[in-house]
């Protein structure tokens, strides 16, 4: 992979000097009651989201990343049991009453979902849907709200905003709809913006524009953005910090450059190796495979849940749960008994017999 100078990179945020985080999640767990018994979806997740920072939550389907996002402001159905603590700007949300949650949602914490068409109401104009948020939360008059709605459409890069206000969702393209969703989400200046796979349904040339909007909201509004994605390219593009989830647990957490340069958990190493990457001098490297499947867990075992698929697993991994531990002289954490080093990360390259020369 090509590397280039670090000259224009922003320095990593210093964890020790950062202020009280906007969103503080501690030991969050979610269990679902199902017909087949209970299911543990999220297990002991802790993280902070800070103002002006974009945290990417990465993982494959079933890792618990979306459930974590929904659990933050009590959006899960009644079959879910949520324990632990979510503090948003000093207010505890786990177990909070309906009034507290309603005040938090839309006001302090806002969501953007994957499919804008199902999140927008097809029978109301865009202007009405955005201004409704403003009238309910900010107590604006209809006229004020529409004027503000036009400003918001402008903010998210929708041309001729005044005209767009009169349109219905079906008259907009996918990228435009997602921008409308974002405009609605940021209408009340949320402190925390949770974006769950916001570009997955969009084409890449449109995705780039939406990512620009998220970056802009972080920088201009100082929002804490929590971006949930499975796309490591998107993470590399916009994230400040990365949190990797696997089978309901946080397995790795760190600053974005550190994560890509020195992934520590064996699962992260596997994920990064699975992306088809550069050909080196016309040679195609064999992609790294992770054998097996993400487990569906009724109970969280006292073990590493990745052990069954891990090339480095031993008896310790199968009998004892690895805690998140920091790397020496670094804020980079991984929950792995055998964190990757330069040596064992080189496995795909070492299997040079499998790499084939291409002409």
């Amino acid at each position: 992979m090509t590397t280039s100078t670090r000259s224009d990179l922003t320095p990593a945020p210093d964890e020790s000097t950062a202020g009280e985080p906007l969103l503080q999640v501690r030991d969050l767990s979610v269990r679902f009651r199902t017909e087949d018994g209970t299911l543990s979806a999220v297990d002991g997740v802790s993280f902070d989201a800070r103002a002006g920072e974009l945290l990417a939550v990465v993982g494959e389907s079933g890792c618990g990343k979306s459930v974590t996002a929904m659990a933050l402001s009590g959006l899960l159905p009644g079959s879910a049991t949520v324990t632990g603590s979510v503090r948003l700007d000093g207010v505890e949300l786990v177990g909070a009453g309906a009034a507290t949650l309603r005040q938090a949602r839309g006001g302090k914490i806002a969501y953007i979902f994957q499919e804008p068409m199902t999140s927008l109401n097809p029978v109301f104009t865009v202007g009405r849907q955005i201004s409704e948020v403003l009238r309910v939360h900010e107590g604006m008059s209809k006229k004020q709200a529409l004027a503000r709605a036009a400003e918001l459409l402008d903010l998210v890069g929708i041309p001729s905003a005044r005209e767009r206000l009169k349109q219905y969702p079906h008259q907009l393209s996918g990228g435009m709809r997602q921008r409308v969703m974002i405009a609605m989400s940021v209408a009340c200046n949320p402190r925390v913006l949770v974006a769950d796979e916001p570009t997955t349904a969009l084409d890449v040339t449109v995705q780039a524009g939406i990512l620009d909007v998220l970056r802009d909201l972080r920088d201009r509004l100082g929002a804490a953005v929590v971006l949930i994605t499975h796309d490591l390219g998107v993470v590399a593009d916009v994230a400040d910090r990365v949190m990797v989830m696997y089978a309901g647990r946080v397995v790795e957490r760190g600053e974005v450059h550190e994560f890509f340069a020195h992934p520590r958990h064996q699962y992260s190493v596997g994920l990064l190796g699975a992306v088809p990457a550069a050909r080196v001098h016309g040679t195609r490297q064999r992609l790294r495979e992770i054998p097996g499947l993400v487990p569906v867990l009724a109970q969280q075992p006292d073990a590493c849940t990745f052990a069954d698929r891990c090339p480095a697993a031993d008896d310790t991994c199968r009998t004892s749960r690895p805690p998140l531990t920091r790397a020496p002289q670094s804020a980079h954490e991984a929950a792995c008994w055998h964190p990757a080093t330069e040596v064992n990360r080189a496995v795909p390259e070492a299997g040079a017999g499998e790499a084939e020369a291409r002409t």
Partner: protein
Amino acid sequence: MTAERVAATEPVCELVDVVKHFGPVRAVDGVSLRIHPGQVVALVGESGSGKSTVGRCVVRLLEPTSGTVQLQGVDVTHLSRHALRPHRKAVSIVFQDPASSLDPRLDVGAVVGEPLRLQGVGRGDRTKRVGDMLERVGLRRAVAERYPHELSGGQRQRVSIARALVSQPSLLVADEPTSALDLSVQASVLNLLTDLQRDLGFACLFITHDLSAVEYLADDVAVMYLGVLAEYGPRERIFESPKHPYTQALLSAAPLPDPLVQRQRRRVVLSGDIPTPLDPPPGCRFHTRCPVADQRSRTEVPALRHVAGRLVACHQVDDDGNGPDVRLRPDDTPVPSGGPTP
């Protein structure tokens, strides 16, 4: 598509000016492609570009409105279902979502063996060939007795691949075969396709929007936009020096999983979405979103012509391959943003 390769072999599949309209919808509007034995041609484009329709015309799930489809030198464009039978063996297709493309009522053995049964292969021989094929795609022979719903997404896609390859086709059309799969599973399916393609030697039309997979697998790349080809040529030329503004935008927009590289790239954000194929724009179809379109682009359809070792359809590119790079601004020095190629 190098000159030597063209001269040396007869193509497995040749499309000449294929047009497919669905009523007023002009999904494909004149696409010509040539796929040689053992070659992987990637057909790239965004949703609505018509790439899947081209794939369905190749396997004759759809009958083209005009133009010709040749499989191994035989014109199959307008053959009836019955007349097509003998040629079906030569080409098969794998779809994006194995959950909906496998019959849930048939066990895996029946699913994979069906193409053989239709060719009149006897039961005993069929069981053996199905078992062999399942092993080839990394599944146990015993999986033949299981049903699709008992398998994971990755295993189901392996079953689809086994079914497609059991009749030893000379061409496999793979329509977004990894898009519905998780990243770690995608890797194993891409590795499997690479291995099978090398060992069995079939040619492949790989339809995808995933540019990193294209760079990994393809020999030739054809970029489609709104029913027509924008650029078509050898992978390394397309990735290293894309000439069409749309190709440039597409390559620049796909983020690379390396923050050091990614954050130095200039990304081209195209305004709007792909226009509707009900009423494609006149002139160059890309002109409504193209940053360098001029009056000629708006009125005159650009011909697909040989430039700098590939085919490109753009008025702004001259015969020596000089043209605008929409990834650069006037004060910029060139940046290596074509793709992850060093």
